[in-house]
Each structure stands twice: as structure tokens, then as C-alpha cells.
Symmetry: C2
Subunit: 575 residues, 2 copies
């Protein structure tokens, strides 16, 4: 074991002082893993290693309401998808220098830096002399024309590293006519040939609108989106997975696996683990497939079956009682962060509370509660007192109840305790129960990208740059065939408009990319559903361990993707 | 990327069904990392690969009150330490078969399974035909004679795996004459030549008492302890580190590093991270040395300087204000789980509350508060309301305030918010503050042991078995020279009585192994203290990443151990 406190970071020494931005990784030292990951060489899909050309698919439509989408995107609607294929001509793509901007939008996801290095390396390889601008702090950086010119030295220390700190991110949106104007000014000022927007569903919708707007103003600036979100809810047939999902789930699954072994070793705790992912439960489902917990709540199933909190509590308590009879007074339970949002009765209660609290004074005696509808009152009384108080006291600046602040896992522990106590009184349960709550969230957003996400993101960056280089706009970069070796991955772009539907807001149609929810008929959920009864009463725990970057265990891909790919392959075979 | 959902666990197929215990790893599948770790080959110190003999040091004393320890351990007091050295005789140790028991005591720590496999493999190698019994569920397993005979097949799937689930653990103590009698009966019934007690300070004190008791009753059963605890507070000159500390700190540091990158990427959160370790702050200090957070609170320093909660809050707020002026409205703050126990004024308040709440009725108007001494009242009023309520409402079965339930990180966030708001009113602070709380605890106790802990524990197990084989009792297994290559590690045992002092309890002297606290004059704290001002205002974050088992980054050792070894080496050079 060679003693080593901290090794000189190669990056820091190689990098001239002038290139250092205020927020950048200027520390004189970095960890061994940081240093070793910087030097990790990434494979590329074969088509990106040879001269290539673009072939087009048939004209596209939209995910819904094509007539409205066509009206909102008169220049872009109907674009075919683009695929890169090898070309025997060496000059399939012009050698012209490009000026490209890139922006990170929204919450962090492991691999964002690799999209940027992919863009950079593509430009170095195929359009030497090009310039890459990194807009700082998200879309606000575009509007304020706040950017850093990304050089080889500058980006070097971020290769295969987690986080978005190379240029940071932000949650601003480019929405109003003034904001679009600001974006145009930046595009003109920097003479941008293209812009890559790395973001989730909202950001990619925005990318589409920007592309349409630039085109309508006859600006040369083209826009390509990249699918980012650990939540895994931005995907479609041609975009099999959003980046970051693989890494984040592996980090959460590592922790869950550890907690499972702990539960089995001490034999006395029920661990309630809340997992990030508000809108969809993909993360929770994936973590369940990786670790085999005793109980997993999937929000989409709760919504589909119109379950109440009482139903969910009873389900958990039933399993706890059954396990207790088998001699197991411990277990692990996974809960999606957004569970409450999936429970119809909670939505109803929140709506009534917002209304009442806006207009009534809340009397100590509780007379205000009479304003609640009977079912909502019943639910309110069912909630633990701490949650009742939280609902009453913690309001956002608009006076609304802050549902997101509710620690669902703690709420469930309290409700389970009450129900177990009741069953104990009725002599239906004799076990002991100690709940431990966990929330795994921020730990997973900025981890080192797995080998899969590192390679996938690098290919996405290459793809985005290649699409811009070929004059494409209004597409989302897509890399497919991900179950095959990297050399066989497909590369191209899909019309952003083809992912869109419209929503009516303030009397107007707004384009939206619909979030991909967990499909109860999809292969991942069906696999889970076929196993959960066994996992509930038998202990089939699996401990995935920490992400490995070297060796045979470093090539795993998440189960959700593999199962979906398998299902697709089977569908193809049947057809 | 080879698709692989879950691979057949080699262990499960190799293992006859009859060997499967109810709580054991019977799943038909395990993760790739689980499978690959099972096959990981461990190096041994050279002395354990050759014929060896034992050499003895000078007679030992105790850590304090030698006269009292001598009275409590009339048969064992003064034993010299034992060192294994190579022997040219091939028969330095008898070939006799042994019957050995092993027990896991107290909270989990990564590497416990490897101590057991080390004992097992030693017996296979040096005393073929021996029997190893694993007492189930901790010391209760000894008293109830509840055990599993550990066979090659049985232990195989637990090689290099985290957790204590091979035989599980428990927190019972062997204390009363009846309990000692039960232990004697088990020793006689199983005809035990030896017992290895794997545990922390309390368990090793117990191991010493058992050894003394067996000796005094002329039983042949000898007892050897092994130093276990993630808290790192069981160590002395000859036992440089307790096992599990290395792995747990690396797991926590991985998460802290991720959260740091997240903080820098989004630029808007202060992450307050509470870390396991109630009695001593070694874990917090080690994580700080690995990751360079902006603020780290070390309990021992708080106690030494007699800081109040207001002092701690002000220190945090001062740094936050300074950082805000530099443009950083984010940061990472590490807090030891036991912080509150280190604050003298809190201890005083708790004592007064316990007294008052036992005898007074608590009136709504708050008149009861007049019973508090002025300083305690001032502290009580300074605490956030939620914490006040927690102190009043949540009592243990003895009616005492449950200090351990207080979420220190949330309490500090609230106190910091109040103070920042005050400074904002006074125009001394203009920044934005959003606190995020984390508790990293259970995730670290059962992770896969790092290569260091895997190898160290295996050597400890070998050492314990060798000491028993040589007829030793009342020693704690010690493996030293840990900064050197494994082949040069030293192996031996140290008299448990030499670690002991006495405490007066219920009018009697009780032997105790004193917890090793963070020494403010020690090399690890001094290194930290020399850097913390720079870390506070500049961002020197280091992201250690996930533990790697393969490749150049897999050989790191924790900083605390290295710094202490370095300091020792320097001391030796000076002498």
C-alpha cells in the first residue's frame, strides 16, 4: 500500500494560470480517482471515427396535436430524423471553422462535462480552428452573454468528472420576447454558428423554440439539444435514455445495498429510503431492480390504481407483519420523492388547504377544518401531527402549501407506527419496529460518471457537434443501439418537435416535451412486479457496491435500459 | 459494454443447500462486484507465510490506575506484548487441532467477515482439522450457546464482503455472574480452546474479563480481542487503527465530495453534513482531510475551548458572510454526530431539564422555565422552537431527554438562518442562504471493505488465530507498520489490560478501555488546523470518488493513519 496523502493533480500543473476561472478546479491537489479519471480514454462509435454523411428518415410528426405544433414551429415542424453513416467521400462534411456555444441547463447530472469535451474534441478533429464558448450559469449566461472560451487546457481537468462546475448551470428560461431578443443579440455578437443546449424536457423544449426563433429571424445560429436528467424521464424511441440516470441510480443503489446488509446484520431496523425523482419513479424502479428491496412504491402505480395514503400504509404494514411472522423484524423500503404528488386524495387536500388558508383565519379550536370536504378532513386527521403542522405553517411566497418539503419517508414511518400499534392491540402483530429514514438525492447528481455515462455523453457531444457541422437545427442528439458494443452504437439526431405535444396555459397553446413516466406495461415494471412478492418475504438483497471504473465489473449498464432494449429487440423479432 | 442483468453468484452454486442459514446470503444472484470481491486474493504479512515463533516484550502496565487493574485481573495483569517473528524450526507451533469460537459484537464495521475468514484460513493452514464456531447475534450467542459451525462453503460468499450478516451481531454484554457462568458452560460444552471477540472498546474490555474469568476457573479457553469500530476511537500505540474506519470514511468522503461538486455547480446551497461518530470526531476529521470542506466542527476542540452553541453558530455565520463577500453563497460544513455532547452548556441544560421534567408539571405559560438557571434558560431560548419541543416531548423510557434524536445539522441550519437574518437587518450580510441537511451513517457501516480494510482484517484474523494457537489469552490482536507494504506488516498481540483504566461506577471500580479521542496536538488535527482557514474562503474541494478495488487508485490508506504513522516515524527519528 503506497502511502499517498493527495497527489499533484496533473490538470492543475498542465494548466496556465490565466485559464483559471473563479469557480474552476484550481486546487493544487485532487484525489487519485479524479486524476486517474482525467486520463481515462473513451471509445467512440465507429461511425464517428470515419468520414460520415447524414441520411434522413421520413418526415416526422409530433407526440400529440401535430396541427398545433406545426403552427408553433412553422420552420421546423416535420423535420426528418438524421442518422450518421460512413461515407467513402472524405469531404462529406465541410472543413469550415465553427463558432459554437454550449450551455448546461437545470439540475446536475453526471456526464455533462463529457458532452462538452465531446463537442470540443469533435471540433478539434473535424473543424480545427473552431471556437467553443461555454455560457456560464445556465440560460442566463446566454441572455447576459456571460461566457468562457473553452480551451484544451481549460476543459482538461473536467474530463470524466462529475458536476456541472466547468461552466455551472442555472434554471432560468428563455421565454419572453425580450429574452429571445437577448439570445439573438448574443448569437450575433459572438457570430455563433451553433448552440448546444444540455438539459431536460423543459430545456429541450426551449432549445426547439430557440431554433425556430433563430431560423425565423434568418440567423445562421443552429440549435441542438442533448438529453440530460438523472430522473430518466426524458426518453423516446430514438433517445433510449437521458444521461446521468445510469450513474445516479448506481450511486443510490450502492447506498441501498449497504443499508440492506446493515439491516440484515443488525436485524432490527426498517430503513425507509426516499429517492430523488419528483415527476416519475424511474430511479426508484431502477434501484429496486438493482437491489431487490422488500417493498418498493412506484408513484405511477399509485396514481393508476388511485391508491390512498391509507392503502399505501396498509400495504407496507401487511408486509411488515408477514415478515415478522417469518422472524424478520427488519427490512428496506424504497419510496419515490414524488410519492405524494401521485396520490389523488392528497392533491385534493392540498388544493382545499390552499383555498382555505388564503381566505380564512385558522382558529386554535380547529373550526376551520369544517371547511374541508369530508374525505379531505378524514385524510388530514389521518396524517401525523408533525405533517399537519408542516402543511399549515410552511408556505411558499405565494402562500401555497410546500408539498416538496414534506419528508415522505418520515411521514410513512409515523403512519406505519400507528397502524402497527393498532394491530398489536388487536393481537395481530407481535414484532418490534424501528424505522430509520434516509433521503438519497444530492449525493447522486454530481458523482463521477460511470463508464457508461462517460462514454455515452462523449458520443452525445460528438453527435451534437457533428449535427451542427452538417447544418442541422432543431434536433436532439441521439445515440442508440446502446446494448451493443460502443463501436456499434448509432449516432444521429431526432426532431425536437417530434417529442412535443401542447398544453393549454393561460388560454394559449404551449409546446411541451411530455415527461416519460414509468410504464406499467413496460418491461422494467413488469420484471419488478413479477419479483416483488418474493422480495417482500424472502431476503433477496443484492449489494451492487461502489461504481468501479476499472476491471470486469466496470461495464455494467442499468437494468431499465437493458430491459427496454431487450423488449424492443423482442418486438422487432416478432414483427 | 456487455449486457448483464445479474450474474449467477459463484458462491450460491458452490454451496450445498444444507449449509444455508436462515439469514445467510441465499439469493440465487448477487452483483458483479459481490462476485468479483469473493474471488479477490489477499496478501499476507510475510511473517504469516513462514514458520514463526513468539517473542515477548517487557511486562506491561495499564493505561491508568495499575494497582486497581492488577486487582481486577490478578491472572492477566502485566502480560507482555507478543510479536510473531520468523522461526527456522518448522514446528514452532504445535500441529494440534483447535476448537475456536468467534463472535461479532456491537455495530457493524466493514471487514468483520475478513477477520473470520482470516481465522478460518489460518486454522486450515496451520491446524488442519480444527473447528470454528460462529456465535450468532453477538455475545448473546455465547450465553445461549447459539452458533453455526463455519465451513469452507459457508464462509465462502462472505469473503471481502461488507456487513456482519455471516453470523450477525448484537449489543448484549456478558456482565453478571450468571452471564459469566453461561459463557463458561458454552466453553465447556463446545470444548473451546479459544474465543475471538471482534468488537469495540466495551467488547474488548469484556474480552479481557472473560479471559481473566476463564483463567481463574482453570478453563482451557483462551480469549483474544480484535479492534473493530468505524468510529476510529479504539487505538493505541500497538493498535494503530480499528478496522472499518478506513472504509466508512471513504464512503462518507465519496458522498461529501459529490455534494461539494454539487454545491459548486449550482452555487446556491450550504450543505450541512452530520457524520456518524458519537463519542469522538475521528470520522469527521478524516473526511475533512480527504475532502477539504469550508467548515468542520471537531467535538474535542469544542469541548477543550468550552465553546457554546452560540460560539459555534457565530463561527459558521462568520465564514458564510466572508464567503458571500467573495461571491460564494454556497459551501459544505461537516458536523460530528456527537457535537451536542461536547458542548458543556448543553450538558448542563439537559441535566436541569431531566430534573425539572421529572418533578414539575410543565405549564403552557412557561412558568416552569424559571426553574432553569439563567445560563440554561438563555440557551433554551436560543434554541430553535422545533428543538425546544423535541427536548420537551421526546423522552426515553427513563423519562430522560433523548439527545441522540436531535438532528444537529438541522438545528444548526435554523440557528444560522436566525443569525444571518439579524446580520442582514444590520446590513452586515447581503447574500442568499439555503441550507441542505444530510446524515451519513448507516450507509458506511456495511459497505464492501476497502482493499486496506480487507487485507488488514484478514491479517487480524490470522493474528488472532495464531495467538490462540500459541496459547495466548487476554491479548488484543495487533497488526502494525501499516504504512509499509503488506509483506512488512508486523503481527502480534497486546495485553488488553495495558489499554485499561478504571472508572468508579456504583461505588465499584470497573475496568474500561478509554476511547481514543481526537488529539488536538496530534498530527491529523494539526494538519487540518493548518489548512482550515484556506479551505474556509477558498474552494479547495477534493472529490475522492467511489472506492476502487482494482487499479492504481485502489491502494489508498486513510489520512489519519498515514499522518499518525508519519508523526511516529518522525518521533522515532528524533529519539
Amino acid at each position: 500500500m503506497a502511502p499517498s496523502l493527495a497527489i499533484a493533480c496533473q490538470a492543475a500543473t498542465e494548466r496556465p494560470a490565466r485559464a483559471l476561472a473563479p469557480t474552476s478546479r484550481v486546487a493544487a491537489v485532487c484525489s487519485e480517482v479524479q486524476a486517474s479519471r482525467i486520463g481515462h480514454k473513451l471509445d467512440l462509435p465507429s461511425v464517428l471515427k470515419t468520414p460520415f454523411k447524414i441520411v434522413h428518415g421520413p418526415p416526422s410528426s409530433s407526440a400529440g396535436n401535430p396541427a398545433e405544433i406545426a403552427k408553433l414551429f412553422p420552420h421546423l415542424f416535420g423535420q426528418p430524423s438524421a442518422s450518421l453513416v460512413p461515407s467513402d467521400a472524405t469531404s462529406a462534411v465541410s472543413k469550415q471553422n465553427l463558432k459554437i456555444g454550449v450551455v448546461l441547463s437545470g439540475g446536475q447530472a453526471p456526464g455533462g462535462h463529457n458532452v462538452i469535451t465531446g463537442i470540443f474534441d469533435y471540433l478539434q478533429e473535424h473543424a480545427k480552428g473552431s471556437t467553443l464558448y461555454g455560457f456560464r450559469g445556465g440560460p442566463a449566461g446566454i441572455m447576459k452573454c456571460k461566457y468562457t472560451e473553452l480551451t484544451s487546457d481549460y476543459i482538461h481537468p473536467y474530463r470524466n468528472q462529475g458536476g456541472f462546475d466547468m461552466i455551472c448551470s442555472g434554471r432560468d428560461k428563455i421565454e419572453t420576447p425580450e429574452q429571445f431578443k437577448q439570445a439573438e443579440e448574443t448569437a450575433l455578437k459572438l457570430d455563433l454558428d451553433g448552440l448546444v443546449v444540455i438539459g431536460g424536457d423543459d430545456s429541450n423544449t426551449n432549445a426547439g423554440l430557440l431554433a425556430e426563433n433563430f431560423r425565423s429571424k434568418n440567423l445562421k445560429t443552429r440549435v441542438i439539444g442533448c438529453p440530460k436528467t438523472i430522473d430518466g424521464d426524458l426518453k423516446c424511441k430514438e433517445v433510449p435514455v437521458s444521461f446521468g440516470f445510469d450513474t445516479a441510480c448506481k450511486i443510490y443503489a450502492e447506498m441501498i445495498g449497504n443499508v440492506m446488509v446493515d439491516a440484515r446484520s443488525s436485524g432490527k431496523y426498517y430503513h425507509f429510503v426516499r429517492l430523488m425523482g419528483r415527476a416519475a419513479s424511474h430511479i426508484t424502479l431502477e434501484c429496486a431492480l438493482q437491489t431487490h428491496p422488500n417493498i418498493t412504491i412506484i408513484g405511477e402505480e399509485v396514481a393508476m390504481k388511485k391508491l390512498t395514503l391509507k392503502n399505501v400504509t396498509d400495504y407496507i404494514v401487511d408486509v411488515i407483519c408477514k415478515r415478522s411472522e417469518l422472524g424478520y423484524n427488519y427490512g428496506v423500503i424504497l419510496i419515490p420523492e414524488g410519492l405524494i404528488d401521485f396520490v389523488p386524495e392528497v392533491q385534493q387536500l392540498i388544493a382545499e388547504l390552499n383555498e382555505i388558508l388564503a381566505h380564512e383565519t385558522v382558529d386554535e379550536g380547529g373550526l376551520w377544518k369544517n371547511k374541508l370536504k369530508p374525505q379531505s378532513l378524514q385524510l388530514f386527521e389521518f396524517l401525523p401531527q408533525a405533517i399537519q403542522e408542516q402543511l399549515m405553517l410552511e408556505r411558499d411566497p405565494h402562500g401555497n402549501v410546500q408539498v416538496a418539503r414534506i419528508e415522505t419517508e418520515k411521514m410513512l414511518i409515523q403512519m406505519v407506527e400507528v397502524e402497527l400499534e393498532k394491530r398489536k392491540q388487536e393481537n395481530r402483530y407481535k414484532g418490534g419496529f424501528q424505522g430509520q429514514s434516509h433521503f438519497f438525492g444530492y449525493e447522486g447528481r454530481c458523482g463521477f460518471p460511470s463508464n457508461f455515462d462517460s462514454t455515452y455523453c462523449y458520443a452525445l457531444g460528438y453527435a451534437a457537434a457533428a449535427l451542427l457541422h452538417c447544418g442541422k437545427t432543431g434536433l436532439i442528439a441521439s445515440v442508440g443501439n446502446l446494448g451493443a458494443p460502443v463501436s456499434d452504437w448509432t449516432v444521429g439526431g431526432t426532431a425536437l418537435t417530434s417529442l412535443m405535444d401542447v398544453e393549454r396555459r393561460h388560454g394559449k397553446f404551449k409546446p411541451v416535451i411530455k415527461k416519460a413516466m414509468v410504464e406499467l406495461e413496460g418491461a422494467p415494471f413488469k420484471r419488478f412486479a413479477s419479483m416483488r412478492e418474493e422480495w417482500a418475504v424472502k431476503n433477496r438483497y443484492i449489494s451492487p457496491g461502489p461504481i468501479q471504473f476499472v476491471g470486469p465489473t466496470s461495464h455494467a449498464i442499468n437494468h431499465t435500459l437493458l430491459l427496454e432494449l431487450g423488449a424492443q429487440a423482442r418486438t422487432r423479432m416478432i414483427q
